[in-house]
Symmetry: D3
Subunit: 309 residues, 6 copies
C-alpha cells in the first residue's frame, strides 16, 4: 500500500497573493450579485484569438459570479468573409450592409451557424452556461425593414423577453445574434441596436458596449480628452456645443436611448484591453466611459464604489 | 351610425363538417395531452416546399394540442449545397459524410444558421413556440469522433436534457440540430441518432421517424409486405430469419435501441404523404410501422385506439 | 409468428381533407391559447340530446386546446320537472322562479345533483377535465335575496375566484351551477348573471352566451336585421333610439355590464346551431353578435381575424 | 368625543379556564399538524341537527388546525326520503340499495345536490374551506357495477387523487359524495368503501369511521367488551376464533383493508357522542376502537400519546 | 393474546365542555387564519416562570392556528444580571441603557445567547416552529447610534424582511432579539421600537405590546379610566388635552407610529394576566387597549367581532 | 460644467495580472457551482484577528461563487474566558468540557451570543448572506447527554435539515453553533461532531475541517509524513498497523464516519495558513489531507483536478 504524501510545502507568498486578488473582488462581487448586465460584444475583440479567449473567460466568470448576463454579438467580418467565398457582392450604405435575400442567407449562416455557435461552444468549455438565441427563437425580436434600398436590414419593433428571462432564471446566459423576425423572413439588425433594445426591455442594471476605442472622447478624433463619466443631459449639452462630434455621436445616442429606456448605467469601453470587462465590473479601476441618468451626479467614484461594509 | 349586420346565413352542412373533423380528433387529443413526443424530421419532406409547409403546420398544431414536442432535424441537401458553393469536396463513407474542419464549419452554417432557423421561423409564424437548440447550447449533446477517417463525424456520449426540459416546461418546442460538442469543437452527428438518444434520455412516449418510405417492409426492396406493427423481439427474429434486410435494418436497429432506452412507441412513416404526422397521432388511421416493447402484444388496434369513455 | 401488415392504402384525398380542417384552425388555436373564456350554456342546447353532445364536445375540445375555460349552466327545465314530480307549485314573476325553501331544495337537487353532474360526467368521458363547482364550494359566490316575494332568488354580492382560478391553473374546467351562498342557506341565481359576474371577476377575454336565437336583432321580434358586431356605446344609442327592443334588452344589458367589468368580448350566439361555439372560436366564420368595448371600432373582421404571421 | 372605556374587569378564573383548554390541546395539535386524515361521516350524526352542527364544527376546526382533511359522507336517509317523495321503490339486498337508473338519479340529486351541498355550506359558514367533490369531478373515482341485480351499485376500480390533493394543497377540505363514474354513467358506491379507497390512495395518516356504536365489541351483540386497540393480525385471529362476529365484521374488514393499503391508523368511533371526533384527535381520551398495522404493538397509550417535549 | 379494552366510559359533561371551548374559538380562528401578527413580549411576563410558560403556550398555539407570527422580545433584567456578574457598571439615561463596547458584548450574550435561545427552546418543546433571529442574521435590522453618550444604543434605519418572510412562508415563527447591525458592530435597540419597525415593514394586521399595565389609562397614574379602543386621531386629541400623560405617552406614540406605517390594529395589554394574548385573539373578550387608524370608528365590538356566518 | 475625464492610463501588466488570477479560478468555480460544502471552522484561525478576517472573506466568497455552504463553528476559548469572568470552574474530562447547568448557560451565551453573532456580523459586512442557527432553531439538532459526569455534554441523536436547506435555497449561509436541544434544555455538542452529522444528513459534496495542523501525519507526533490523500479503507489499515496514532485518530474517525454517511470528500487542513480554504477549493494546489470513499482510488490529482473542457 503506497500512501500519497504531500511533497512540497506551500509557498505562502505566491499562493496567498492569488487568494488576495480573489478577495479584493469581493465587494464588487457582492454588489453585482443578481444584477442584470447586457454586454454587446464586437469589434477587434471578436477577431483576435487571444482577446476572444479573454472575453469568453470574462463572460463565463461573470455568469458564475451570479450576474444575470445577456451577451449580444455582432459578426461583420465573418459575414463579409462568407459572402466573398460565396461570391456575393458586399456593399454598405451609411454604415449598414445592403442585405438582399441571398445576403440575408449568408448573414444567418455566418452569424448564427458560425459566430454564435462558436461563442456558445467556447463558453461551455467551462460549464454549461451558454445558450444561443436568435430573434426567431421564441419570437424574441420582431422587426421591420429600414428601407427598400437596404433590403433586409431591419429595426426592432418589439422585444419578447420571455425566453431570455426563462433562460436566465435557469442559470443560463443567452447569447443573442442580431437577426430578427420580419413579416416574410429574417432581418439583419445592427447588434448595438439589439443590445440597447434588449437591455431596455429587461430594464438591465448595466449595458456594456465593447468597442475598439477607449471610450468617448471630447473633440474627437483628437484622443486627448477621454470622458470618464457623463449624465445624459451633459451628453446632450456637449453634443449641442459641438464638443462631441463625428464618430462619437452614434455611441452617445445609443447610450442615451438605453438610459431613457430604463437601463441603470451604460459603459463604452475598449474591448482590445485584456479583461477590460472584468476590470470594469470587479475592480475599483473604472475603464472607458460610463453614462448615468440625468440628475444622478457625474462623480464616477460614488457610482462605482463597492458598498461600504 | 352604421351597424355591422350579418349578411349570409350559415351553411350548416359545410361548417358543421369542419367542426365534426375537429371533434373526431378529440379522443386522440385527450390521449396525447401532456405526452412527450420526439419527431425526427428529414428526407423529401424537408425539400418539397408544400410538404415542408404541411409538416410545419402539423408540428405547430401538435404543440398547441398540449404535446411536449421535440423536433430533431437533418439537412443533408442544404449542407451539400453550401459545400458545393464553397467548393469544398463532398464525400461519404458508409453513408456518413466525411467531415474535416472546413466541412464542419459548412455543416454548422447550413444546419444551424439556415435549416434550423428556417424551421423555427416558419413554426413561429403561427405563434411563439419554437426555439432552436444545438448540442452546444446548454451542453445538450456531448460526443466523440467515430473514427479518424470520418473526421468530425461524431457519436453521442451524453445527453443533458435540462435545457430542453426547461423549454418544454415553459411551453416551447425545442428544434434540435444534429451538432454535438466534442472535446475540441463541434461534431456532425446523424439526426436519426440524435433523435433516438434524445427520446431515450427523455423517456419519451413516442418517437417518430419521418422517412421517404411507407414504413418497414419485409423482403425489401420488394414493397409488398408493409409491416403495421412490430415488437422488438419480433424484429429481432425477423432480422435473424432474413426477412428484414438491407435498407430496412438501420431503421429497425434505431427503433429497437430507442425502445430499449425506455421510449414507449417508435414509428417509421412516410413523410411525403401530406400531414402523415397528424394522421398518425390524431386519427384512427395508423400510418407506417409502429414498434412496441417486447411482450406488449403486436395488435396495432389495441395500442393505437383512443381511450374508451 | 404472424406479423401485422398494413392492408389498405391511405386514401390521400379523404385523409388529407381531415388534416386540412385541423390545420385551418391553427391561427385561431394560436390566438386563443391561454386565454380565459366563460361560456354560459343554456336553452334548447341543453335539452336536445344531439345538441347537448355537440356542446360537450366543443367545450372539451376548447379545454384541450389550451383555453382557460369556465362553463356556467342553467337548468330551468330540469328544475321544473323535478318540482312537478315533487308536487311543488311552479310559478314565475318577471321571468324569475318564485323560490321558497322547498323549491330551493329542488333547485339544488336538480341543478347540482342532476344537471351539473351530468355535464361533468359527459365532459370527463373524454378525459379528466371537468370539475363541478357551486357558489358554496370555496365560498365562490355570495349573494342576497332580490325581494321578499321571490324568496330565495338571489343576486351576486361577491365572487371569490380563488377556487376556480386554482382549478384552471391545474388544467381543470370549472362547471358552475347558479347557486349562491346566502346568509341563511342557498340562493337561486340566474345563470346569465352568474356568467357575467364570474367573467367580470376573472377579467375574461371572452364571454359567450349560448341562446336560442341567432343573436341580437334590430327591430325585434322581426328577425331581419341581425347585428354582427356592436360596441357598448352603439348599443346604448340603439336602445335609446328604440331600435333595440323587448326581448333583446336583457342580453344587451348583460353584455354591456360584462364589458364594463373588464371582459374583452361578449358573444350572443345560437346554441341550437351544431358546434356554434367551435365555429365562433376556431373558424373565420363569426356566429351571432359580438359586443366590444366602446371605442374599439365595430369591424368584426379586425377583431376576429387570426394573427398575421 | 366619547372614549370607549373597559367596564368590567376580567374574571380571571373563567377566562383562564377557557385558555387552559386550548393549551391542553397543544401537544395534539402539534402532532397532527400537516397530517392527512380521512373522516367517513354518516349515521345518526348526520340526522340529528345538534349532532350534525357539532360534527361540522369539529371538521372545520380540524381544517384550521392544519390537518389535511378529507370528508366522505353517506346519505341513505335523504336518498330514501327523496325516493319516497318521487314514488320510487326502495329496496335493499345484503344491505346495499337496489339502484336502477331512476334510483341512481335520485341518489345523485339527494347525495350531491342536497346532502353534500348542505355540508359544504354549513362548513363554509365559518370560512371558505369546504369544496364538494364527486367521483365524476376530475375523474376522482372510477367504478364498475357489483352485479346485474343491484344495477348501478358500484365498486371502486381506481382513485385519481390529483383533484383532492390539489384542493388540500390550496387549503381546502374536499367533501366527497359516494358517487363514482361508470362506463355509462354514475354509480352508487357505499361511503365506507369510498373512504377506505380514498384513504388508501392518499396513504392517509388516519381514517376515522363515525358510526352509531361505541366501537368494535367482542362477542357482539353483547356490548360489554369494547376493544380499545387492535392490530390487524389480532383482528384476524379474533375473527377466526369467533369472538368478532356479525355486525362487527364489515367494519373490521374495512379497517383491515385500509391499513393494508397504507393508512397509519383506523378508528371506529361513536358519532352520536358530541364532539367525539375532536376528543379523539385533540385530547388524551381515546374514543372507540383504534386499528394499527400488525406488529406495531397494541398499546393505545403509546400510540396515541402526544409527543414528549 | 390480551386485547386492550376500554375501561371507563366517557364522562360526557367534562369532555364535551373541553370541546365546546375549542369550538367557541372557531370564529376567531377563522378570522386570523393567515394574518400577520407581531407580538412584543417583555416585562414581568418574561420573569415569572408560570407566566412565561403561559405566554410560550399562547405563542405556539397561535402559530399552529395558522397565524403568521413574529415575536420580538426584550430582556433587560437578564442583561443587567449578567452585567452585574461581570462587574460592568449598569446605568440608564432617559430610560435607555448606556451601552459601551463591553456592555454591548454582555447585551448580545444575554439577549441572544440566553433569552432568545431560551424562548426558542421552550416553544420548540411543542414542535419545531421557532427560529431565533437577530438584526445581524440576513441583515434583518440595520441601525445607527442614537448619541455619543449612549454609545451602542441604536435606532433602526432599515428593516430587511426577506429572512423573516421566508421563515414564515416555511411555517416558522421568527423570534427576534433587539440587536441591530451598525457600521462597526452590534447596536442595542429597544424592543418596542424593533417591534414597531418590523410590524410596519411587514404591514402586519396586528401588533401586540405585552406590558405590565392593563392598557392605556386616562389621567394616569390614576388607574380608573382604562381605554378600550382608540383611533390615532383621538389619541392625538387626548394627548393635546392633557388627558393622556406621563408614562402612557411612549406607548401611545409607538402605537401611533405603527398604525401610520400600515399596521391594522395595535394592542396594549397586560401580560401578567394569564393567557392574555390568547384571550385577546381568540375570544370575544377584548383585553387592554386597541388602537385603530383614524377614521375607522372607535367601537371595539365592531372591530373585534368574529365574522358573521 | 466640469466633465469627469480619465486621468491615468491603465497599467496593463498590473491590472491584467489581477484578472488572470480570477480567470485561473474559473475551472474550479465551475466545478463547485451548486455543490454543498460544510466547513468546520475552529482552532487558532478563530482567535487570530488577521486569520479570522481571512477565513470570513473566504467563506463569503465561496457563498457568492454559488456554493451551498454551511459553516459550523466551535468557540472553546471564548467559553472558557466567559466562565472565568463569571468565576465558574473550568474542567475537562477526556477532552470534553464538564458542563453543569451554570456552565451550559455560559456556553450558550459565549457560543451563540458572542462567537456566532460575531461571525454572522462579519460575513454580512460584505452582503446579506449569513444567518446564525443553533440546534434549537427549527429543532435542527436534537441530542442526549453523553454521561452523567459530563452533565450537559451531548451527542447528536437527529439532524433536521429542513431549516438549513430552506436557508440555502434562499441564498443564505447557515452559521451553526454546536448547541443541541436535549429533553430538558440545551446540550453542549462538540463542533467536529456537529459538522460531521450535518454534512452526513445533507449528503454534502465536501466537508472541510479547519485545524491547527497541516493534515494527517503518519507516525505522529513526528511531522514528517503528511498524507495527501487517503481512502477510508486505507485509513482503517493504517490505524490497524499503528502508523496512525494518538492525536490523529479522532480526526480520522470523524472523517471516516462522514464518508460513510454519504459525504463525497472530507478534508483536514491547516486553518492557520492564510486563505487555506480558498486555495483548497479554487486552485490546483491541494492543501492538507483529503479522505475519499473506499474504492475511489487515492490519487489526489484525479480527484481534485478541474473538469477537462
Amino acid at each position: 500500500m503506497t500512501i500519497d504524501l504531500q511533497e512540497e510545502p506551500l509557498c505562502a507568498s505566491v499562493e496567498a497573493r492569488k487568494a488576495e486578488v480573489l478577495i479584493e473582488a469581493l465587494p464588487w462581487i457582492s454588489r453585482f450579485y443578481g444584477k442584470t448586465v447586457v454586454v454587446k460584444y464586437g469589434g477587434s475583440a471578436m477577431e483576435d484569438p487571444a482577446l476572444r479567449a479573454s472575453v469568453i473567460e470574462d463572460l463565463t466568470l461573470m455568469a458564475y459570479l451570479g450576474i444575470r448576463l445577456v451577451v449580444v454579438h455582432g459578426g461583420g467580418k465573418a459575414i463579409s468573409a462568407l459572402m466573398e467565398r460565396l461570391r456575393l457582392p458586399v456593399s454598405f450604405r451609411d454604415g449598414l450592409r445592403v442585405t438582399d435575400d441571398a445576403a440575408m442567407e449568408a448573414v444567418s449562416m455566418a452569424l448564427v451557424g458560425q459566430v454564435n455557435q462558436g461563442l456558445v461552444g467556447a463558453m461551455n468549455a467551462f460549464g454549461q452556461v451558454a445558450v444561443g438565441v436568435t430573434g426567431s427563437d421564441g419570437c424574441t425580436l420582431k422587426g421591420e425593414p429600414v428601407s427598400a434600398e437596404l433590403g433586409r436590414v431591419g429595426t426592432v419593433t418589439s422585444v419578447n423577453t420571455h425566453l431570455i428571462s426563462c433562460l436566465m432564471d435557469e442559470g443560463y446566459v443567452p447569447v443573442v445574434a442580431g437577426v430578427a423576425m420580419g413579416a416574410d423572413g429574417q432581418l439583419n439588425v445592427n447588434a448595438d441596436l439589439v443590445a440597447s433594445e434588449v437591455a431596455g426591455a429587461l430594464e438591465a442594471d448595466k449595458l456594456v458596449f465593447m468597442t475598439d476605442v477607449d471610450g468617448i472622447y471630447l473633440d474627437y478624433p483628437a484622443c486627448e480628452r477621454l470622458v470618464s463619466c457623463l449624465t445624459t443631459d451633459e451628453a446632450a449639452r456637449l453634443a449641442a456645443s459641438g464638443e462631441l462630434t463625428g464618430g462619437m455621436l452614434p455611441k452617445v445616442e445609443a447610450a442615451t436611448r438605453a438610459i431613457e429606456a430604463g437601463v441603470g448605467r451604460v459603459h463604452v469601453l475598449n474591448g482590445t484591453f485584456p479583461h477590460a470587462l472584468l476590470l470594469e465590473v470587479f475592480t475599483d479601476r473604472g475603464v472607458g466611459t460610463m453614462f448615468l441618468p440625468a440628475g444622478e451626479g457625474s462623480q464616477r467614484d460614488g457610482a462605482s464604489a463597492p458598498p461600504e461594509p
